[in-house]
């Protein structure tokens, strides 16, 4: 693409793909950037194009028809010279400039070699998705304990199961497809421990009834798991993992309504891998330094404030998908489309032609958002989860800061948020910059207030060598 771009899209998951496809349909020139080896994001994670035959993963996916339609739209955009697709490019900073935005990228197509670069456009759309939200428990730092998203990424991206006997735990509907995917690859899924109780859904039946397709998807997983004799255990949790060089067993306990373990219910189950996840945390690293207003979401996360057209509070900056509130792929696709329509309107371009009218997309987005809110309320982080921790439990994996040290920082140092805990204990100061421990440290110190992630000025590490080679 030789002409300057009209729009930068960061993230080629469902939201970013839909946004880019819509902007292309409206005649814009688009640069789509993603850190992965293929488009699709985490939800539609695929092996790189040349490896699809060697690593078959189609049966692990949902909504592949939508994915393929978006892939075709992107291919057509590339063929027409109006889409520049930058895969294996990591964005480490996004900044406002006089006439738009610049994103600083590291090209890692030939990793570990890296090349720094800058991309510019008048408009920026951030669709960076989310990652698994974690709560520590004794033994969660043992090898073989992964996030549920990590188990799924290894399966969908590499065709690899991380164990042969696996227990899953946490909360939220994501546990089900991961259990089904593992079982389909011959893994013995010994337990799916869901902290919430399905009856929590009965408190918000409306959104469930108005989203029959999602309901049917859930029922499909339940059937698949029942057929493979996978035990789904509501109102239980993995409260500990044991092992030496690798996890060998988990402790599973029934939970009281507040999430504390019921005495006498703990059982040992032998495993060689574990997957844990407590919903998702939006990836806001690029949006926070740009100065977007944030708000609290029903799931306890800070999310980006957007209007009906996915415009953030920063002019020219749009967001779509999980960064605006965790809600799944169908919502992300709708928001991506709406965001791109706003870009078209704000650029003075005509709306994108398409089979589905904008009003229909808007009402679908509203329906999915209501569903996401009901989901968040039905699958909360259990209030008493920290009763699983001992003083020796590692909370910050990078700096190896224990729950005891964090409790001391609160009791004796007066720390009442994750920033103060960081100054006193180094929790959140390591490689991951608090992405893993931040929500947990927040819960341990700040109580009911919403979690706002730290501002990270460098979103991914970049070598000084790569920066030194950058043309000014």
């Amino acid at each position: 693409m030789s002409e300057p771009a009209d729009l930068l899209v960061v993230g080629a998951g469902p939201a970013g793909m839909a946004a880019a496809a819509t902007a292309l349909a409206g005649g814009l020139r688009v640069v789509l950037v993603d850190s992965g080896a293929a488009v699709g994001g985490q939800y539609w994670r695929h092996p790189p194009a040349h490896a699809r035959a060697a690593i078959p993963t189609d049966d692990l996916h949902h909504g592949l028809r939508g994915y393929r339609a978006l892939c075709e739209a992107l291919s057509a955009g590339r063929a027409a010279g109006r889409l520049e697709l930058r895969l294996a490019h990591h964005v480490w900073s996004a900044v406002r400039e006089d006439d738009g935005f610049a994103i600083h990228v590291v090209d890692r197509r030939r990793a570990p070699q890296e090349t720094a670069g800058v991309l510019r456009a008048p408009k920026l759309l951030v669709a960076t998705g989310a990652y698994d939200r974690q709560l520590p428990f004794p033994g969660w730092d043992l090898p073989g304990v992964l996030t549920v998203g990590g188990l799924q990424a290894l399966l969908k991206g590499g065709g690899v199961a991380a164990g042969s006997r696996v227990a899953l735990g946490g909360t939220g509907p994501f546990l089900l497809p991961v259990a089904a995917a593992l079982a389909s690859r011959g893994v013995e899924v010994v337990a799916v421990c869901e902290a919430a109780h399905p009856s929590a859904w009965l408190r918000h039946p409306g959104p469930l009834l108005r989203n029959p397709r999602t309901w049917a998807e859930g029922a499909g997983y339940a059937t698949a798991l029942a057929r493979r004799r996978v035990r789904f255990r509501p109102r239980t949790a993995i409260t500990g993992a044991e092992g030496g060089d690798r996890v060998t067993a988990v402790r599973i306990a029934s939970l009281r309504p507040d999430g504390s373990p019921r005495p006498g219910t703990e059982r040992h189950v032998e495993v060689d891998a574990v997957g844990v996840g407590w919903g998702f945390a939006p990836q806001l690293d690029l949006l926070v330094p740009l100065g977007c207003a944030l708000t609290d979401s029903a799931d306890g996360n800070a999310v980006v404030v957007v209007g009906g057209g996915q415009r953030t509070t920063v002019p020219g900056l749009y967001a779509a998908g999980e960064t605006c509130g965790v809600g799944g792929a169908a919502l992300a696709v709708g928001e991506g489309r709406l965001a791109a329509e706003s870009v078209l309107a704000d650029s003075g371009a005509a709306p994108a032609p398409g089979p589905k009218r904008l009003a229909g997309v808007r009402s679908a987005v509203a329906r999915h958002r209501a569903f996401a809110r009901a989901l968040a309320l039905a699958h909360p982080i259990p209030p008493a989860w920290s009763s699983w921790l001992t003083d020796e439990t590692v909370v910050c994996r990078c700096e190896e800061v224990t729950a005891g040290a964090i409790r001391t920082a609160r009791a004796e140092g007066g720390a009442d948020d994750h920033r103060q805990v960081k100054q006193l204990t180094r929790a959140g100061m390591g490689w991951c910059q608090g992405r893993m421990c931040g929500p947990a440290v927040h819960c341990l110190t700040a109580g009911q207030r919403g979690y706002e992630p730290a501002e990270r000025l460098v979103a991914t590490p970049v070598t000084l060598g790569a920066l030194a080679d950058l043309d000014p």
Binding site: A51, A111, P143, T147, G150, G157, V394
Partner: protein, 84 residues
Amino acid sequence: MSEIVVDGESLPFTEGQTVAAALVAAGRVAWRTTRVGRRPRGVFCGIGVCFDCLLTIDGAGGQRACLVPARPGMTVTTEEGDDE
């Protein structure tokens, strides 16, 4: 099947897999030792967020095994608690 070299030993992988996927496929879930507690670590988040899976690839340290695609002949060295 293609191969990478991990700490001097050949490790087969399927084209398209990351270094982490190749290691996990071979049954290895840990390849790093933490600085403070000398504890074993390996793949955790699998998507580049947690930095637990760091190792050295073709002489470049601090690489996330879950992000870097394995390529034939790649030389991988697992780190010994010197991840700063």
